[in-house]
Amino acid sequence: MARNFDRMRRANSGFMTTLTALCTLLAVGALLIILAHIAWQGIGALNWQFLTDRPRPVGEGGGIGNAIVGSLLLLLISSVIGLPLGICVGVYLSEIGKGGFGGAVRFIVDTLTGIPSIVTGVFVYAIIVVPTKHFSALAGGLALALIMIPIVARTTEEMLKLVPHSLREGALALGAPQWRVILGVVIPAAAPGIATGAMLAIARVSGETAPLLFTAFGSRFFPESLNEPIASLTVQIYNYAISPYDEWHAQAWAATLVLMTLVLGINIIVRFLTRKRF
């Protein structure tokens, strides 16, 4: 009896281990296939001119230099607006707002996370683009920031909640006021996690196209001001991908490869800057 039972148990364990391994393989495999395919399709059109030049008419080559600069600027604007706001909301939810109001804020933040990004684009179009009568990098950055805030807020909240309560008590017992406990002990202890949340948000918005169509619009030139339409990799990829020209299709693949490398690069830099020191 017992031996039979043990055999069943081992078989069950083996089956479950295999199942989870297969699922992991499936998920990671799909990702690797996508990455490999993009690299395969994109590498051909990649060269120095492509990375530095601005778009040219079909047959004249041209590149995505302006879109790279534009995307980086849009990410910068949205990070400057979205990250501090999101982190502050997260700190509020985790450390201060524990009553009914905090619960309401949390519910609203969760709802915001689920809003389709195109709605955010239309919203910014209505409140910024229409009154100012022109598309602009600032409007695009704002739209992306609005998408970032709830993501950053919730991940920050979760990361701060993981900081042991005993650390807060230890600092309070030394006569630290609450704001110093939060700034000096809790946030540094959660910094790697908060940075990961920020990274997820940046990675998420760097792939957004829809909200930019209504706000940053796109441009065939290098940006000269934040108050004018600006090119971005995603919009450029979209425009090239729906065009009928093979040359532009190839350029769309290459631009996708560049975008992915960009996100990976930012990820590595942020991870390096916020690596665990203690």
Partner: protein
């Protein structure tokens, strides 16, 4: 017949101060404490004289830790708690409206059951309290205070060559002594210790106990302990708690040899708890 001195039946340790002449550093009057609707402490009244070690003993859940945490208002951070009665430190009620809790906690330091060093360097851990309280702006004085605190906590020799390394690289016993050094650095008047040695091995425990014995020259120390031998070893006075009530408070020698209360005797002889 000439008058003969009669040898006392119980030998009182020479270092134990005479209780009656000591001024009460902490005086608790009729303290009630509630977690929501549950009453955790019932009408506690207790004096803690200056520069002695007072031990709180009692079974788990008897309220001794809760009581300790009322002395620096650490329970304030737990939601839905309520306090009744008075806690006088130097004759000032710390629960009176307008009390500066931050200032109170500078005067009443605390060491927790589980060591909780900050994820910073050893030096920064000890310097933290000094920095936030703006004790000094001079770097050399800061270093001096950190060194002194680490020496007071009997940790200096083990860490003096690696002050810039992470506090989390220390062993459990060293981490706890670091937390004691951190609390001592701001020179509190009262030091609360919530089972400071319960997670440590016997060697680390004896180091902490020696430390407590040295520290009472300068500080008033209140220690919660599960371990009755420890209470007997380190304390001058002992208070016994049961089910949120203070059953007996007495000189430690008396408590462990001839307690006044039957319940105390039952507990220390291991009949329950």
């Amino acid at each position: 017949m000439p008058v003969q001195t009669v040898a006392p039946r119980i030998e009182v340790r020479a270092s134990a101060p005479v209780q009656t002449s000591s001024k009460a550093k902490v005086a608790v009057r009729n303290l009630d404490f509630f977690y929501g609707r549950v009453q955790a402490l019932h009408g506690i009244s207790l004096d803690i004289p200056e520069r002695i070690v007072m031990a709180f003993i009692g079974p788990s859940g008897c309220g001794k830790s809760t009581f300790l945490r009322t002395l620096n208002r650490m329970n304030d951070v737990i939601p839905a708690t309520r306090v009744g009665g008075e806690v006088l430190i130097d004759d000032h009620d710390i629960y009176a409206p307008g009390t500066d809790v931050v200032e109170l906690r500078r005067r009443v330091g605390m060491v927790f059951q589980k060591s909780n060093p900050f994820p910073k360097s050893i030096f920064d851990n000890v310097a933290y309290g000094l920095k936030i309280n703006r004790v000094t702006s001079s770097g050399s004085e800061l270093e001096g205070r950190v060194e002194q605190a680490l020496k007071d906590a009997a940790l200096w020799n083990e860490v003096k060559d690696r002050l810039k390394t992470s506090a989390l690289s220390l062993s459990g016993g060293q981490q706890q002594r670091l937390c004691i050094a951190r609390a001592l650095a701001i020179r509190p008047e009262v030091l609360l210790m919530d089972e400071p040695a319960s997670a440590l091995d016997p060697i680390a425990t004896s180091k902490i106990e020696e430390l407590i014995f040295d520290l009472k020259k300068q500080y008033t120390i209140v220690i919660v302990t599960h371990n009755m031998q420890q209470a007997a070893r380190v304390s001058d006075r002992t208070a016994f708690f049961l089910l949120g009530k203070l059953i007996e408070v007495n000189a430690t020698e008396k408590m462990f040899t001839a307690p006044n209360e039957k319940l105390t005797e039952d507990y220390i002889t291991g009949r329950f708890g």
